[in-house]
């Protein structure tokens, strides 16, 4: 009976459902966007800065802000041997890092120099995909961030001089050709990153062997705690990416919680239309309620009649909206939302392209939330209808 009542005023039912449809859509799309944004940031941090775990000297971490070249791991073989003990380690890569200056004739810019193993990093940094022009050839050349190359008006084939402090506290430079320009994917690095091979980096820093960091990637992120607990080497520290994020990790958690509050608020606001529609329905059907009660329909049945009608009204719209939002997320995940012009200049790893996540559990979550909230708010007019007596309803006619 509750279901049939939905079609008594089709336009009103449609408009009420539409408001919940919009609410369901907004919740799913917003959740997809927010998680996509945070996921993009997390990926940038893991791939470019820390891996799941970053291993370096204790002194290196204590002065990491200054990129202390002299605090390098002299004997990374010990660490590599130790890593073999952890079966859940997927792979690892070694990196050298330094702050330096890049010169094109008289113009110069401060840069962050990455010395990498080009083959291993192909998988992590996805440079092949990110090359805007030139090639991924680090043997005799360098790769530059897109914004950096733009600010120095550098093109493929141009020669640059890169100078840096050496591990001996001196100064050294290398002269190399620009072999490729890379769209790093976030502004912080795009405007300052220079990528060279690990051997050229050693030449620049005047270090015969050793690396600054070993980035470890795990098969299962949940094993981070276990890894940190069991990885013990004197003077060497393993930190996870959350530690590397510092206070940002708390902001991420806080942002997530705030968004959950916002989702609930959106749905509550939308369900006001259900209260409104159902209250009007109760007043329109006073004679009917009186007659039904006079014929012996119990209060609980009247309560359920209006309660179920309101719940169906809201949930129906919510289901369509949530699924519609999910399909939009699938599409946007594939296509990506380019925010480059908006986020350029930001000093954190905010991705240029945000790919909303399309998790089905969010659809379930949104439908569940809408159903629960709709059933709660529908109780208000249903409770009013339940309390009415046949005499009261007949007096209103």
């Amino acid at each position: 009976m509750a279901f049939r009542n939905l079609f008594r005023n089709k336009r009103r039912s449609f408009l009420t459902s539409l408001s919940l449809l919009v609410a369901g859509f907004v919740v799913v799309v917003l959740h997809g966007y927010v998680t996509g944004f945070l996921k993009g940031m997390k990926e940038n941090i893991i791939n470019w800065m820390s891996g799941h775990i970053i291993i370096a000297k204790e002194e290196y971490f204590s002065r990491k802000f200054f990129v202390p070249q002299e605090e390098y791991l002299e004997n990374p073989y010990l660490i590599k041997e130790k890593l073999k003990e952890f079966k859940y380690v997927s792979f690892y890569t070694e990196r050298l890092k330094s702050m330096g200056i890049i010169f094109k004739k008289d113009i110069n810019k401060p840069v962050l120099i990455f010395g990498i193993d080009s083959e291993k990093e192909r998988r992590i940094l996805e440079i092949d995909r990110k090359i805007v022009s030139g090639t991924y050839d680090l043997k005799e050349g360098v790769l530059l961030g897109k914004e950096l190359s733009k600010s120095l008006d550098l093109n493929i084939g141009d020669t640059v001089v890169i100078i840096s402090k050496t591990v001996l506290g001196g100064l050294n430079g290398i002269k190399m050709k620009v072999n490729g320009i890379v769209n790093v994917g976030f502004s912080e690095f795009d405007k300052k990153v220079v990528i060279i091979s690990i051997s050229n980096m050693r030449r620049l820093l005047k270090m015969p062997e050793g690396v600054h960091e070993i980035l470890v990637f795990l098969k299962d992120e949940n094993k981070i705690k276990d890894f940190k607990k069991n990885f013990k080497l004197n003077g060497i520290t393993a930190r996870d990416y959350v530690q590397e994020l510092g206070s940002f990790s708390y902001y991420f958690k806080l942002a997530n919680n705030i968004y959950y509050f916002i989702y609930i608020l959106i749905i509550i606001l939308a369900t006001f239309t259900v209260i409104n529609t159902m209250t009007v329905a109760v007043f329109e059907r006073l004679r009917e309620i009186g007659t039904l009660k006079a014929l012996g329909m119990r209060d609980l049945e009247i309560f359920l009649l209006f309660g179920i009608e309101g719940t169906i009204l809201g949930t129906f719209g919510g289901i369509i909206g949530a699924f519609f939002g999910w399909f939009v997320n699938i599409f946007l995940n594939f296509k990506g939302i380019n925010m480059e012009s908006a986020v350029r200049g930001m000093s954190i790893a905010v991705p240029y392209v945000i790919r909303p996540t399309a998790n089905f559990y969010v659809v379930i979550f949104a439908i569940f939330l809408i159903t629960v909230i709709c059933s709660i708010v529908s109780m208000i007019p249903a409770f009013y209808a339940k309390r009415l007596t046949p005499q009261e309803t007949l007096r209103e006619i």
Binding site: I101, V161, T166, G169
Partner: protein, 232 residues
């Protein structure tokens, strides 16, 4: 009375500052120095020799790790010759704030020509350090051009020589400290021979510079202060 004290203080402090600035003026020089750089558990040693003429200087490093790295300051420009690439680069902009060869000195510190000219005395009083009574004079940058907002100068009363400098930012954060441990008297003037500089933003870090040889007022060839000379 207050006005009189103020006038006496102003004359005294201004004159001291004037003398300190005078003492720093060197027409020309030749020098050979050793540097000890301590960064945490690591200690590095460097050696350099060079020449100065007016505000310009030329430095060439002699220790094996930095052999033939050369610096040339001409007016407001600082050039570095890097032997590995046989090329010269000009240091400018943000890089001037970077450390000079891993020391606690920045390029900016190195480039300062008559650095006290930006400052005016704010107050002066007596203070005791290691049983020596010194002037403690606070000077403040009035031009907004100096790299440090204010400096506390600890001045030897007898010879009017700086014993220690504390360098502050605008929000009164002490970021550097310079202790001059020894002076050499050449003619009527005293020249710093040994000093220790600490960048207080770095933990357990200091740089000790010891001038092993110093000649003042010698004839220095003009050719040295030309870019072409760096490649020689």
């Amino acid at each position: 009375m207050k006005a009189l004290i103020l006038i006496i203080f102003t004359i005294n402090a201004d004159e001291i500052l004037k003398k300190l600035r005078e003492d720093r003026k060197i027409e020309s020089s030749r020098f050979y120095a050793k540097i000890e750089i301590v960064k945490g558990k690591r200690t590095l040693f460097k050696e350099f020799e060079g020449y100065s003429k007016g505000s310009d200087f030329y430095i060439v490093f002699k220790n094996p790790e930095d052999k033939d790295v050369k610096y040339l300051k001409i007016k407001n420009d600082l050039f570095i010759y890097i032997p590995d690439i046989d090329d010269i680069v000009r240091i400018s902009g943000d890089m001037l704030k970077q450390s000079f060869m891993g020391t606690d000195l920045s390029y900016e510190d190195l480039m300062q020509e008559d650095p006290l000219r930006y400052y005016k005395p704010l107050n002066i009083k007596d203070t005791v350090i290691n049983s020596d009574t010194l002037y403690l004079m606070e000077i403040v940058d009035t031009t907004k051009k100096a790299p440090y907002f204010s400096i506390n100068l600890f001045i030897d009363k007898k010879n009017i020589l700086i014993k220690k400098e504390e360098l502050f930012t605008k929000n009164r954060r002490k970021i550097k400290e310079v202790q001059i441990l020894d002076y050499k008297k050449i003619g009527e003037k005293f020249y710093p021979l040994i000093y220790i500089m600490r960048d207080l933003r770095l933990k357990n870090s200091y740089t000790k510079v010891v001038f092993k040889e110093i000649e003042i007022g010698i004839k220095v060839k003009d050719d040295i202060f030309k870019l072409e000379y760096l490649r020689k």
